[in-house]
Symmetry: C2
Subunit: 206 residues, 2 copies
């Protein structure tokens, strides 16, 4: 294990490798090569080898990588060889979809609570969760020691909600609100905004 600081751009590719490897494992494959994995994920074989080698010598010359071994290592590196509880803030359509999403459990995540400010929604059930009042949020998150959140609130509410989450001890926010937010340096943010993603592609269309 290399003690140097690993660039975030490399960290960002590891989940993509892991996802592809888990798929390969499901399909019964036992080993793969940087070449094969690269074709699957659209990244050069050299880069995949370089990325992986930052963390150790996980491959074998001549035969490549053991898929299950590499999965274990990547899960360890990414800290997803455990379950992370996540809260959802905002019980609109997108919050609903995430609350019911089946794709978290085998990737290291579990939705733990869902919050909304709308009294008409509080108390209702979505995907097995009872929607809780956002006014109790800080305390609930803090006492459950939850570190991750998904924000599916309007842009106008995003900064205030983010501030409350940070206060509650959240250290990673997946932000579905279509706006940038400011958080302290020790808090990570990832952005999911379909319009922004789409606009990145229209540039190339006629």
């Amino acid at each position: 294990m290399n003690a140097d600081k690993i660039p975030d751009i490399i960290i960002g590719r590891l989940p993509v490798y892991l996802r592809a490897l888990q798929r390969m494992a499901e399909n019964g494959m036992k080993t793969t090569s940087s070449q094969e994995l690269g074709e699957l994920v659209g990244i050069s074989a050299a880069q995949i080898r370089k990325d992986i080698s930052q963390f150790g010598e996980f491959g074998k010359q001549g035969t490549g990588y053991s898929i299950s071994f590499l999965i274990d290592k990547l899960r360890e590196i990414l800290n997803v060889n455990r379950m992370w509880d996540i809260v959802i803030v905002g019980a609109g359509d997108m919050g609903h979809a995430l609350a019911r999403y089946q794709g978290f459990s085998n990737r290291g995540f579990r939705v733990a609570m869902v919050f909304d400010i709308d009294n008409a929604k509080v108390g209702q059930k979505i995907g097995g969760f009872i929607i809780e009042d956002a006014s109790t949020m800080t305390e609930r998150i803090r006492s459950a020691k939850i570190k991750m959140a998904m924000m599916t609130v309007p842009a106008s509410a995003a900064q205030a909600v983010a501030d409350k989450l940070v206060q509650a001890g959240v250290r990673a926010i997946l932000n579905y609100a279509p706006t940038s937010i400011n958080v302290p340096h020790n808090v990570r943010v990832q952005y999911i905004d379909p319009s922004t993603h789409l606009q990145r592609m229209t540039y190339y269309l006629d």
Copy 2:
């Protein structure tokens, strides 16, 4: 307008600038500076000036940028000074949420059709759209000349659906399926996978 090829990493930041500028405009602001915009989006002022200057001289020394003028220019550059029709493939929870999402229209997008393979879903309504049979998809997309799609299908179906979309003439795919897909070079893909985004953050958590 610079005729050189603009790096994709710059193109990727423009929608973020545009989103912030539209927010400023809604709040009644008339001008801004690279400094102010940078603090809002978390990018250095120098980089913002450099990015914008790739396309022309849109600012004024001493006063900064006219927000409405810069919005116009960015919309023009990104090709979103028009409406793009989009199809949704997969009418599960995520497809539902996207079909009902109100955040597309003022960013240049309009959902035009929703498809699913499930006969139990075909004919039902979501968000004002009637779910259509996926077997008619290629022909429907082709004759409507639609160039963009959002895929909210299981990972196992993603590659086959992508192939059909490409055949139908789609040139940009926003892929919500948790898997990488392979498409020809003239087709753009953007990925939205909450687990992948979350795993990029857990690396930094204890």
